[in-house]
């Protein structure tokens, strides 16, 4: 039995992965694979119909997730996963559409798309793997790089102010906002389970180790050292005020579920508004309550 055959025969994830594409390209110590495992576990626990879940990724390390999950999966352009997913969702309102991409992709180059999807409460699940830098292209400074951290385009340390993803998401109108680290696997799974059931824009930020670039440039050690940092410095505060969630360099990480509220989604609002204005002439679009009505 070759190594690959053995992995295929024994892998409990194989119903959820394109086994013909394994091994994946991620570095040893990287946290993306563990987030994918959590996602698969959430699909399993939720008993999701896998034919009705799609994954859309942008570009970057996390952008490669779409290539490994055994679902309808789309690898798009840099930063544009959210608009692609918006189109997919609006054309297929009965599908659950998940954006799986990185911090640079969703909040750097695609930041504008994110804020409008959040504003509209578009019914998407966004899983953002935050490794604090643009890893695939060589560790450049990102919108999430903590101040003072070193990056290949900030060789004397980063002097910019980073985005706090939960604060940004909350301010823009997201209706489910959580943050975890790659150490909090069960909690990531639980959050993804909740997000898949939530109607509206859900964003789950997962802080993960980038051993090859971020950690190496900052002399932070290997994956285990970073998990130890998450263990020592993270504090779970559910419902924390999102204004307090900024991340300093190697500083405290406040994690938890910060926002979980009901608000009409884009399609709910469209159907309600056009139904009011046009009356009987208007035919409801999509399934307004996940097909229940």
């Amino acid at each position: 039995m070759t190594k690959k055959d053995k992995a295929e025969a024994e892998n409990p994830q194989e119903a959820y992965l394109r086994m013909d594409r394994i091994p994946h390209i991620w570095c040893p110590g990287c946290g993306i694979g563990t987030v994918v495992t959590s996602f698969n576990e959430a699909l399993k626990k939720n008993k999701e119909d896998l034919d009705k879940v799609a994954v859309v990724s942008g570009i970057g390390c996390t952008g490669r997730v779409a290539g490994y999950v055994k679902l309808d999966s789309f690898h798009t352009t840099h930063g544009r996963a959210v608009p692609f997913a918006t189109g997919l969702k609006l054309a297929n309102p009965d599908m659950k559409v998940v954006v799986f991409s990185g911090d640079g992709d969703i909040f750097g180059i695609g930041g504008n798309h994110f804020i409008h999807a959040a504003r509209r409460n578009m019914d998407l699940v966004i899983i953002c793997v935050n490794n604090f830098n643009y890893a695939m292209t060589g560790g450049q400074v990102a919108a999430t790089t903590p101040t003072d951290a070193n990056a290949s385009t900030a060789p004397y340390g980063n002097f910019e102010y980073p985005f706090s993803i939960p604060y940004l998401a909350d301010a823009c109108g997201a209706t489910y906002v959580a943050r975890w680290t790659a150490l909090h696997l069960r909690r990531v799974t639980k959050s993804i389970q909740e997000a898949l059931k939530h109607r509206g824009l859900s964003i789950i930020e997962v802080i993960t180790p980038c051993v090859t670039l971020y950690a190496r440039r900052n002399r932070l050690g290997d994956g285990l050292n970073l998990l130890k940092y998450y263990h020592d410095k993270s504090e779970i505060i559910h419902g924390a005020d999102t204004r307090t969630l900024g991340i300093g360099y190697q500083d405290k990480l406040i994690v938890g579920k910060f926002v979980h509220k009901e608000k009409p989604t884009f399609l709910d609002a469209m159907n309600k508004h056009l139904g009011n204005v046009l009356g009987d002439d208007y035919q409801l679009y999509g399934r307004i309550n996940n097909g229940k009505d």
Binding site: R18, D51, A66, L71, D72, S73, H75, R80, M95
Partner: protein, 303 residues
């Protein structure tokens, strides 16, 4: 479908490349204005003709149509959708501000008389479906997201499965496939409108609003005894290379007026080679040509 002009078209270039790679049928109307940059909002131009073909990075083929009237805007939009579905390719309606703002009679036929090409759906067994396995004409059939095929598509160079394969061999196959499905069907795609071309010594090639502006110049030249034919590019891309080569062997000159510094004229020059003269009649945009300028160019070409 979406509608834009130059600046919006520039912003869309990245994802036009993705559509070429994913082989997504789509239609974009570009109501051209003068550029570059913000250029001339609300004033006419035909300056995005090369961008339509080459604007996104890498090698690919697209289809571009150029209507010269409101009626043709209607007809060619239907044609654009049909071509997009037939070849799984972005199709551009490269019109201009003049045609875009023009008021003319448009005959809209009853819906049942309009020919609509249905998307080519895959019909074989589910387990045998490969997203980029091509039919004989080079175009792969499609399925719908959510129907259980669980496909993967990517902007990366990919094989029949839609899986990324990053090497020169797969790149050759992938690029050849997306180019040849258009080039190999160019004769079926290309539409030209030719007049009095059989015994012509000079052929005026134009498209969009410029083909209408050229009419008085052509009429005046015929009155002056010159043998003038006209060719209107209804399809600009793929370019009618064969036809230009054919004509270049028997005529004296092509005259190419267009509202840019000379774009499609390059294609004419490339295909006419040195077999006949090629005279460009450029215009920087903001307004249409003075027909007199086109007439003078025809007179010059006839010498």
């Amino acid at each position: 479908m979406t509608v834009t002009s130059g600046p919006g078209f520039s912003l869309m270039m990245e994802n036009i490349g993705l559509a070429c790679m994913h082989e997504t049928p789509l239609v974009i109307a570009n109501v051209q204005r003068g550029g570059p940059s913000t250029g001339l909002p609300t004033l006419t131009g035909q300056q995005d003709m090369m961008q339509a073909k080459f604007g996104s990075h890498g090698d690919y083929e697209i289809i571009a149509l150029s209507p010269d009237s409101p009626q043709e805007c209607f007809d060619l939009t239907i044609e654009a959708f049909n071509l997009a579905e037939t070849y799984r390719v972005p199709v551009f309606i490269m019109t201009d501000e003049c045609v875009g703002h023009m008021h003319e009679k448009v005959v809209i036929p009853p819906a049942e008389e309009i020919e609509v090409v249905e998307r080519r759906w895959y019909t074989g067994p589910k387990e045998d479906y490969l997203p980029y396995k091509r039919d004989e004409d080079g175009v792969p059939p499609m399925i719908k997201a959510g129907d259980g095929y669980r496909i993967h598509t990517t902007g990366l160079t990919h094989d029949e499965h839609g899986y990324p394969v990053i090497n020169a061999e797969c790149q050759k196959q992938n690029v050849t496939d997306i180019i040849e499905k258009i080039r190999g069907n160019a004769d079926k795609i290309i539409k030209l409108e030719e007049q009095e071309i059989d015994d012509a010594e000079i052929v005026v090639i134009s498209y969009g609003i410029t083909s209408r502006v050229a009419v008085p110049a052509v009429r005046k030249a015929r009155k002056a005894g010159l043998k003038i034919g006209t060719m209107r590019l209804v399809t600009c891309w793929p370019f009618p290379e064969k036809r230009i080569r054919q004509l270049s062997k028997k005529i004296k000159a092509f005259v190419v007026p267009e509202i840019n510094y000379g774009q499609m004229v390059r294609e004419v020059q490339r295909n006419a080679f040195d077999r006949c003269k090629v005279v460009s009649v450029p215009h920087c945009g903001g307004w249409v040509h003075d027909p007199e300028d086109i007439y003078q160019a025809i007179k010059e070409a006839s010498k």
